[in-house]
Amino acid sequence: MAQRKIRNSSSVGTTTSRVTLNPKVARRSFLKLSAATAALTTAAMTTRMTAKAASPAAVKKAYPDSKMVRSVCTHCAVGCGINAEVQNGVWVRQEVAQDHPVSRGGYCCKGASAIDMVTSEKRLKHPMKRVNGKWQKLSWDTAMDEIAAKMTAIRDNDGPDALHLNGSAKVSTEMAYLQRKFAAFWGSNNVDHQARI
């Protein structure tokens, strides 16, 4: 956020407000997302105010019956380890991979929000195609049938080199291998991926 950076920390230009963690500062340039918090229900103060602290004996599990799955962050090539805590098939939280030999539990902001790759509301959930300029949902079978039919038609009319496949450096090595193998079986060398650029 250029604006925030200017306001908070730049030594150039004029700054009129001191840095605070005041939410207003962040919200000003980010109105779209300001989330509403539900009104809290009333409760009288009780003895809950007494100080409490955990002793090692009191250590227990926050998510009973959960299991840890070891995985790798999908953002950059450092290959930071991810410890995913899964309870009943739901990824409940990202645990720290403190003993990973490369990352030692460290994450940047992208890696720290790995769980969002799965939970983001922006994820697509249906195959879609444009019809008269509008997006239309369709089933996987229909989508794959239509795509395959069109590809075959293009191959028959124009030859296999009329297709270009842009593969990915964000898939597994196995998948990348399949992408290259697919191009070979399709009959074209028009295949490439991000390592080119």
Binding site: M1, S10, V12, G13, F30, L33, R70, S71, V72, T74, C76, V78, I82, P101, V102, S103, C109, K110, D116, M117, K122, R123, L124, K125, M128, K129, R130, G133, A143, M144, E146, I147, A148, I154, D161, A162, H164, L165, G167, S168, A169, K170, V171, S172, E174, A176, L178, Q179, R180, K181, F182, F185, G187, S188, D192, H193, Q194, A195, R196, I197
Partner: protein
């Protein structure tokens, strides 16, 4: 990478991130590790703190990494080659080169030394803007602190002389004798999480998996691996000649659609599958958008709608929601060549499918599933096994799925300093079995070309890839390309240079012997299967045999163009006509006075489809901006935070917010390239499927990046273009 591979055999990071802990000095050029690879910084800062290793950052921009540097060198974009060759010259002039290393393991040194002698520190200052005293100082730091680790990223490669620049980096490390040593090496930080893996599998238009190339022998090798008749594959192509012809690249595929440049293919491109590939990292993005709308079929396979989905408004575009990589499994190769197994964390979310099943459905419908999946029953483990079987060149054969998973389960047993397991089930292995890992007993190679270890324990000499001897054009000298007597890995049968292994199994060599007997034989004899040779300073197959400086195609210094001109035009460069000489003009700098460079920010990744769909990351970086030096801005009458137009010579323009900062100098404009969803001032938010537009959108910087492609690899030149700015 081609530059690196042509120097000593393999084009990959030679050491590992953890190994940088042992560096005595670190030089970063065109790399902003603090933003692009933040976690690597814990090892880098460890070396800085514990070894007192000076950090030298060479960059046009005062990056967050530069904030941690002991020496910040501000360089003009696109002049990396002359700076490095100037350093090499200074080191040679002062006699600081590692003479023994050069005598025994380097080829073409006198020729290179003669060539770089033209780059005195004063000439470097004239071209790069780096004071001559600073060049001398950097040379001294590097000479007195060995081994030094050299790191570069896209800032070093995305130039039309990118392949020369990368070779210059290699030459610097060879001259200093920093190769094959812990704490040294060329540590090329890769971008995406699996660039190394995908590159090794060669999702590339000029080679088959494992860098086998496109020759008939390569096709025959892979047909044997795939267990399919060679003639069948030939029959799939239009004609056999297209099998051996390099295809279009990601950088310029759209020329095959638009038909505005002359293309060398019998048909224009009519269909496109974009599989896990954000589109807005392409330079001249406005032309890419035009190409999208001209396609007959456009399939986007991605967890999030990429910007391509919003820019392509014609019918015939399909969006297939694949799952994220956390919802599927497979191996992934990190920048340190370590292979890790990415376990499936959860099932694909409702409505999504993983990549493997999409591929399976597609192949089934296209009618070659039985041949395609002949040896693949268990996905993805059988695919890994097929890779193990076929990818012999880079030693991908020891990393069986079982071993990779074992490493994942026991990652706590690996030592942070050496990455070697101490005890436990993986005892002696290096973490992730960095390739080459020749056999199932091999521990992996943590440091490439390290002759201090036996081959069976991860040592290697330089690869013999370029013949036995060569006569140099420039000097007429003939040199043996094999390593000198006395250079060998402990336990080697031959105590000096030796050629690559062949005919252990008659009719095959180490790269094509599917029984892998050759590899085992070589390792048994303590020798590297690929031979023991010298690293070359002269690459006789490249247009510039020795790296020389050439001004960027769009140079801000017209006075230097005649002295350092670019190449001749190249008619068939990955099937498309590519302009060099006819593009370079001294008049441009007058009209477009600023240098435009692009880069990453820590909060976003690539085209940003993933990270801009993440509410927390979007909150941290919600706006596209261009960094402008306050002095420049004020001279143009601009105000901080104002909207400005940035225009490229090609006519691409973006409307962005001006951010005044002294990170950039007065001649340079910097833009992050992660944004999308707006095109030339118009929002495309309505073109996304309803509810799936990312939280934040902005102009893609690549609308403005200039024409220009590397002469060898066709990597786009996004870091040294020109632009002009005006108030919006």
């Amino acid at each position: 990478m081609a530059g690196v591979a042509n120097t000593w055999g393999y084009g990959a990071m030679t050491n590992s991130l953890n190994d940088m802990r042992h560096a005595q000095a670190m030089i970063f050029i065109g790399s902003n590790a603090a933003e692009a690879h933040p976690v690597s910084m814990q090892h880098i800062l460890h070396a800085k703190e514990v070894n007192n290793a000076p950090i030298i950052v060479v960059d046009p921009r005062f990056t967050k990494l530069a904030a941690k540097a002991d020496e910040f060198v501000r360089i003009r974009p696109g002049t990396d080659c002359i700076f490095i060759m100037g350093l090499v010259n200074e080191i040679i002039q002062k006699g600081w080169e590692d003479k023994e290393f050069i005598r025994t393991r380097v080829a073409g040194f006198p020729e290179m030394a003669a060539s770089c002698s033209q780059y005195s520190p004063e000439e470097v200052e004239n071209v790069t803007g780096i004071p001559a005293a600073q060049t001398r100082k950097v040379a001294k730091i590097l000479a007195t602190n060995r081994p030094a680790s050299l790191t570069w990223c896209m800032g070093g490669t995305q130039h039309h002389i990118g392949s020369s620049i990368t070779r210059a980096f290699c030459i610097l490390q060879l001259v200093l004798g920093n190769m094959g040593k812990s704490g040294g090496g060329t540590n090329i930080f890769r971008g995406h999480d699996n660039v190394q893996g995908a590159t090794d599998m060669c999702v590339l238009s000029h080679t088959l998996p494992g860098y086998y190339g496109l020759k008939d022998g390569s096709w025959k090798h892979w047909c044997r691996v795939w267990d399919v008749e060679y003639d069948y594959i030939v029959s799939r192509f239009k004609e056999k000649k297209w099998m051996n012809a390099k295809g279009f690249t990601l950088a310029r595929w759209y020329e095959g659609v638009l038909g505005e440049e002359k293309i060398e293919q019998y048909t224009p491109i009519k269909a496109m599958i974009q599989w896990g590939c954000g589109s807005n990292s392409n330079s001249q993005y406005d032309r890419v958008v035009r190409a999208y709308n001209k396609l007959d079929l456009f399939v986007i396979i991605d967890p999030f709608p990429t910007m391509a989905a919003a820019t392509c408004t014609s019918d015939n575009v399909y969006l297939l929601p694949c799952s994220s990589q956390y919802e599927t499994s497979g191996s992934v190769t990190s920048t340190s060549r370590q292979i890790q197994w990415r376990h499936k964390i959860v099932e694909p979310i409702n409505g999504c499918r993983d990549d493997y099943s999409i591929m399976e459905e597609l192949v089934k419908r296209l009618g070659f599933a039985d041949k395609f999946y002949k040896n693949i029953k268990e996905v993805p483990e059988d695919i890994t096994r097929e890779i193990n079987r076929g990818t012999l060149t880079i030693g991908y054969n020891g990393q069986t799925p079982e071993r990779i998973k074992k490493h994942m389960e026991n990652w706590h047993t690996f030592d942070i300093e050496t990455l070697q397991a101490k005890g436990g089930p993986c005892d002696g292995d290096y973490f992730g079995m960095p390739w080459p890992c020749w056999t199932e007993e091999h521990p992996g190679t943590p440091i490439l070309y390290d002759v201090s270890k036996p081959v069976a324990e991860g040592g290697l000499p330089f690869r013999n890839r370029f013949g036995m001897e060569h006569t140099y054009e420039m000097s007429g000298r003939t040199e043996n390309q094999l390593a000198a007597e006395g250079v060998y890995n402990p336990g080697s049968e031959v105590k000096g240079g030796y050629p690559e292994f062949k005919d252990v199994v008659p009719g095959t060599n180490w790269k094509t012997d599917l029984s892998q007997k050759t590899l085992k034989e070589a390792v048994r004899r303590g020798m590297a299967p690929f031979g023991n040779a010298r690293a070359r300073c002269v690459v006789w197959t490249f247009p510039d045999q020795i790296p020389i400086h050439r001004e960027p195609l769009h140079s801000p210094r017209p006075d230097l163009i005649t002295r350092y001109p670019t190449y001749e035009d190249k008619p068939n460069h990955f099937r498309v006509f590519t302009r060099y000489k006819s593009e370079q003009s001294p008049d441009l700098a007058g009209k477009f006075p600023f240098v435009l460079t692009t880069g990453r920010m820590v909060e976003h990744m690539g085209g940003g489809a993933e990270t801009r769909s993440n509410k927390y990351l979007s909150e941290l970086q919600p706006e596209m901006y261009a960094e402008v030096n306050p002095r420049t801005g004020h001279n143009l009458g601009l105000r901080d935070g104002e909207m400005i137009w940035i225009e490229s010579p090609e006519g691409g323009k973006v409307k962005v917010k001006a951010f005044f900062t002294e990170r950039v100098d007065e001649h340079t404009i910097f833009m992050p390239y992660h944004f999308g969803g707006v095109l030339m001032g118009e929002s495309l938010a309505g073109n996304y499927p309803a509810g799936h537009a990312p939280y934040v959108s902005g102009e893609p910087a690549n609308v403005c990046t200039n024409y220009g492609y590397d002469i060898v690899t066709q990597i786009q030149a996004t870091k040294d273009g020109l632009c002009k700015i005006s108030r919006a």
